[in-house]
Chain length 415, copies 4
Amino acid sequence: MTFLADILSTVFERRYRFRTSDKTDGRPLEALVADLIGATGEVSGVTMARQILSRYATLDDDDKRAFFRHLAEDLTISAPAVRAALETYEKGQSKASYQAFMEAVEPPRQELIRRLNQVPDATRSLVRMREDLLRLGRDDDALQALDMDFRHLFGSWFNRGFLVLRPISWESPAQLLEKIIAYEAVHAIDSWDDLRRRLEPADRRCFAFLHPAMPDEPLIFVEVALTRGVPGSIQDLLAGNRDMIDAERADTAVFYSISNCQEGLAGISFGNSLIKQVVTDLSIELPGLKTFVTLSPIPGLVRKLKKDGRSYDPADDERMRSLAANYLLTAKREDGLPLDPVARFHLGNGAKIHQVHARADISEKGMQQSAGVMVNYLYDLAKVAQNHERFASSHTIAASSEIRSLSASAEEALV
Amino acid sequence: MTFLADILSTVFERRYRFRTSDKTDGRPLEALVADLIGATGEVSGVTMARQILSRYATLDDDDKRAFFRHLAEDLTISAPAVRAALETYEKGQSKASYQAFMEAVEPPRQELIRRLNQVPDATRSLVRMREDLLRLGRDDDALQALDMDFRHLFGSWFNRGFLVLRPISWESPAQLLEKIIAYEAVHAIDSWDDLRRRLEPADRRCFAFLHPAMPDEPLIFVEVALTRGVPGSIQDLLAGNRDMIDAERADTAVFYSISNCQEGLAGISFGNSLIKQVVTDLSIELPGLKTFVTLSPIPGLVRKLKKDGRSYDPADDERMRSLAANYLLTAKREDGLPLDPVARFHLGNGAKIHQVHARADISEKGMQQSAGVMVNYLYDLAKVAQNHERFASSHTIAASSEIRSLSASAEEALV
Amino acid sequence: MTFLADILSTVFERRYRFRTSDKTDGRPLEALVADLIGATGEVSGVTMARQILSRYATLDDDDKRAFFRHLAEDLTISAPAVRAALETYEKGQSKASYQAFMEAVEPPRQELIRRLNQVPDATRSLVRMREDLLRLGRDDDALQALDMDFRHLFGSWFNRGFLVLRPISWESPAQLLEKIIAYEAVHAIDSWDDLRRRLEPADRRCFAFLHPAMPDEPLIFVEVALTRGVPGSIQDLLAGNRDMIDAERADTAVFYSISNCQEGLAGISFGNSLIKQVVTDLSIELPGLKTFVTLSPIPGLVRKLKKDGRSYDPADDERMRSLAANYLLTAKREDGLPLDPVARFHLGNGAKIHQVHARADISEKGMQQSAGVMVNYLYDLAKVAQNHERFASSHTIAASSEIRSLSASAEEALV
Amino acid sequence: MTFLADILSTVFERRYRFRTSDKTDGRPLEALVADLIGATGEVSGVTMARQILSRYATLDDDDKRAFFRHLAEDLTISAPAVRAALETYEKGQSKASYQAFMEAVEPPRQELIRRLNQVPDATRSLVRMREDLLRLGRDDDALQALDMDFRHLFGSWFNRGFLVLRPISWESPAQLLEKIIAYEAVHAIDSWDDLRRRLEPADRRCFAFLHPAMPDEPLIFVEVALTRGVPGSIQDLLAGNRDMIDAERADTAVFYSISNCQEGLAGISFGNSLIKQVVTDLSIELPGLKTFVTLSPIPGLVRKLKKDGRSYDPADDERMRSLAANYLLTAKREDGLPLDPVARFHLGNGAKIHQVHARADISEKGMQQSAGVMVNYLYDLAKVAQNHERFASSHTIAASSEIRSLSASAEEALV
């Protein structure tokens, strides 16, 4: 879909680019914004929207901050107007009074963002704009409130029902692939050759969620290895000289890297849909696959061991595994959820802690974060709903009996 | 784009269809709705959403009305909660207080609709659902208020930036073409042969807006004839035995039919974007095109003449043209806008009344509505913004001098 | 593939169409042909080729016959030249002597046809040209010899390796579908609605072979019904009110219609590849399918019964089945192959006579040709090679034991 | 087209790969070949063809040579059979006698190659096979004769009418782009970044001819720079820090690199079609383009100057230009055609020598071959046919007056 979409949209953009004169008329950005919000139709709206986006793209951080501040302070709700509308509504609930209420409670900046989005390719620009906003608004309550409006609209626009799952392969457009290289956040891709090793072999797969309005921008992607048996080492899994197997012979699919791509979409969650969809698709394509696991880092392990003053030796396999299992099962935040962010994500999705492996990630980062230990989270589609439910309601963690006994032995060791 | 999209989505749907058991668990729809709104994640959400949509599809009108009433009455805002959130917000404007306010003012049914949309192909179902709502809620204030929420979300989802303009041709999928036949609202398409006559010849074009989430459903489409000179008869334009011309020889593009396709998207406007985009695209593809006009009906002419007690004779060309020009220029609604709905649409887009023709539509409907007269609205991209602005601000109607003098002669005739 | 191919080729053609002036220069067609064969390169070749094809398209039958006669008589081999080249080759077999031999034995008209094919879309025109040739050359030895050259080139161009198997569905381009309607040769398609009934339901499929150089022209297509059990009536199979089933529930795929589309490709066989490829593809898509059969006419049955003076009663089921089985097993041509052309085709492909059904085709044509009897040929991929081999080498017909005993009872009845 | 084709063909292959057991049955390759030629139909033919191709792929050079020798010697024509068929034909020219003649003059190896091509993806394998044959048969008359058969068939299969012109861009599949990197023969592409610099900027284009049976293999491609004015330095043209321009502002398209990709297609010419088609397409897309030139090497210049004992100084611009112009206009082979191979190619296509530039290619190779001089050949579509004709018939070289006077001054210098 995207390839053709690209063609079409490229043609589209190009025409557009050279059709519109886009003479910005020198008026202040605030004036353009006021015009756009006040515009009675799309007739001049698109032209104004384009001008605002072009102008925005040239701003430095101070001017961007000023622009955001204008939206945050001047295009916000009016409390008296809300109160008045609410009172009218309470007196008589009708279409008219409800409509008036809806209008009063929605700040004009939401309509502004929607109108900016009329311009071809504006969605991408607006995601970038929110990236700026998040960066510039970190300690600024007004800008953070403004961000709630962006987030509200993006939640609607990037609804799961609008996303398209696409396999990414060595046949995908180079334009898309260079973004996979850039966005890989877990195990860095060094070069095009490295990328090829992750995409081209018969026992490798990659899947991404895309949005039709920015079809060459992956939103999130997952890299998958097809193996026989559950692997216990990321270096073995990615080794250049490993033995490849026919996809049909694999019994296990390993999700070894999941990367969010768009900082401007922070807080809009796609990850659990992605994994479950990929599990579904792969199990249809390759009926031989029986086990779906991750091979995941344990980013908080060493920090916690140090904080607790527990000694550890990366070379003592069984001890490391016990410590890791214990950490995953027992280390909690104040709200009762697991301390480890990766564990929170997968357990929240309904996965189960399946196995831990020592000396599984001997990279510098792997040794620093988790003394080399990695963990497999298991996705059993028949059980994810139940696991999720129990995790959500009572923070109960699904784990294999081996993980439980490993954890128990770590407890005993403490005594 | 759609063809490949279709392939992908078909594959997708099919898998989906046979993967999910979708055992509806017998609980009342209200209980499922409560569960879906209360769901902590997408894990079980998609399953519940699918169940609700499946169950909804089997309801009769009474049960649908009850379902809508539940949404309207039980999943609405709580005025006290809004008031409390507003007060907190007024006391201290922070991210937290703003977020609490946003949550209080949004009725839970909006989140429900968003969550229903997670299911593949749900967008289409939700558009159909609103079609039901509009039909069943005509005289029901609560349901009309509920409709405001659908409309609010659809306005966001079907934002111009997400629509794709596609040429529709005899090479388009039959699945799409049958909808063109079904939805044509102005000059009915009798058969596949009739459709072919409007799509296949070198001097005919058709364009539609599509949305990626329902790629085989046109939202609105326009049919175009390429001609030499501005035509003055719809029957001549559509005659089976007319002389065809090479597209390159045409100097005029005639928009002779514009049809909205989705009743469930009523009030979400695409029409003016469509025409302007098509004008832009055609003028690039065919630089020989100099004039872009409609050949439009005047649906309210006869009714108005009768109401005013003015005599008319369809065979008296000049008199009919005068009466029509006068009607278009002077007949107004209470709000000062033109009485004629087609005139309101095109003048609101920034078009100009260019020419009127007697005996231009001699079909039964044409004679009944307008005594055979039709009108050309002219789209001159260099002037639409200005025309639109003057129409919007002061209801000033752009018209050619010939139209003005025709109208004047009708005034004189009155004296 | 074709949809995008269409887009590209359409763009391509269109440009082409309006770029080339194609002023035919009034010279006789023979002169143009001589120029094209003599042309030193493609530079002017394409222009001349286009002129020849355009000119040919305007000829009446007499002129076409004269054109073919020119190719047949003037652009043929020279026996003395062949003999000379052969002698040189015999004296010393070298690259040069072999090349000279190859040039001598190939008539110049073959090179002419190849050069004509340089023009965009020429392949289609050349297939049409051979259609004319076959029609006009029926009783003309020279034109039939000329046809051997067309057939030789087409055999190379339409090699199995260049064909693309495509599912045809209700989502296919209308342009392609109207050809399915036109070309259906076995059970006529009455209307677009009738076509939809054969394509859209979940238990119907259609597949065609296409060639990339004429992607909107099916070469041959097969219509498939997915059923539970082997059906014994074409009217039941096609009934508008039949019960549809989910494709996944089907255990049998029924090939109920196979149609060659291009008369100009007569003698270039695709049929057996098509069925075997479709069997392979369907058994992957739908693992539940266990049986692949045809539901085929027996076009020569009644004629043979009449010739043999055997009485028959279409309402006497068992007797009709015996007669049909006996006919299929024993009626032979002089060369020892089955008399029935459909039987020859399927048995030659390695199929097996599986079952016969009385009152299976009660249409007028079905009653006339076969007194209502139809036959299932079974495609068992594990056995087609062996069946084919035995049929090819010793004319042994594969048949089920029931068919054999039915046939035997017809023999006894004769005694 | 290719992207979707890739998808389809990939799916296709994959299925195929895992469907067919492909147990090679241990018989000698010759026996398999005999079986395939003798096969009565496609039923077992495809299986045998696949076995032969698989087996061939494992052969070493000696065995390949033996295989080719078998084809060359045992599957060749029989002179007595040809003579007999010729005599029968002379006695009575009929369809039958002509068919018998055609069969006699075609060596069985041609039918073998056609049958091998039935296997999916076989075309690619056969092109590779011919690559082997050309390499192994250099000094072997029998193998060179065999090559004539390959060339004959490939000439038919890779006929211009079957080729598809495709723009290659940064949005093309990586799988295709890596071949562009590998095949670039004129100005090497160092890395993916270098490739991107040639594809992504708005003032760069690349086009390739593809064949539908091997859609991810470019046959030939051309790289184009869009410029203002005719450039005189390849280093400037490719400089990383050059000023880019909007494509719409360009007045000149420069073909600065043309690379043939398939050694196995040697002697099958696509180059002139490619350039002319690209000129046509670009002049439609960008009406501002007025001049279409190459920026070409002069590979034989230095060798000739040395041979003629003429002194030259790369830094003496005017002198170098004179020498180059003189070389291009006057240095001839025995057959009267230009000595320089690049000149032969472009002049044969109907181009004209437009301009020469000193210090235009200061790379090591450029200095060695042509002392830095490069040449622009001009493609003026209105004149290529006439230029070509005069070049073909009388070896007349089209050149600008400046080139002629530069050349003349070199002559004078000689005196």
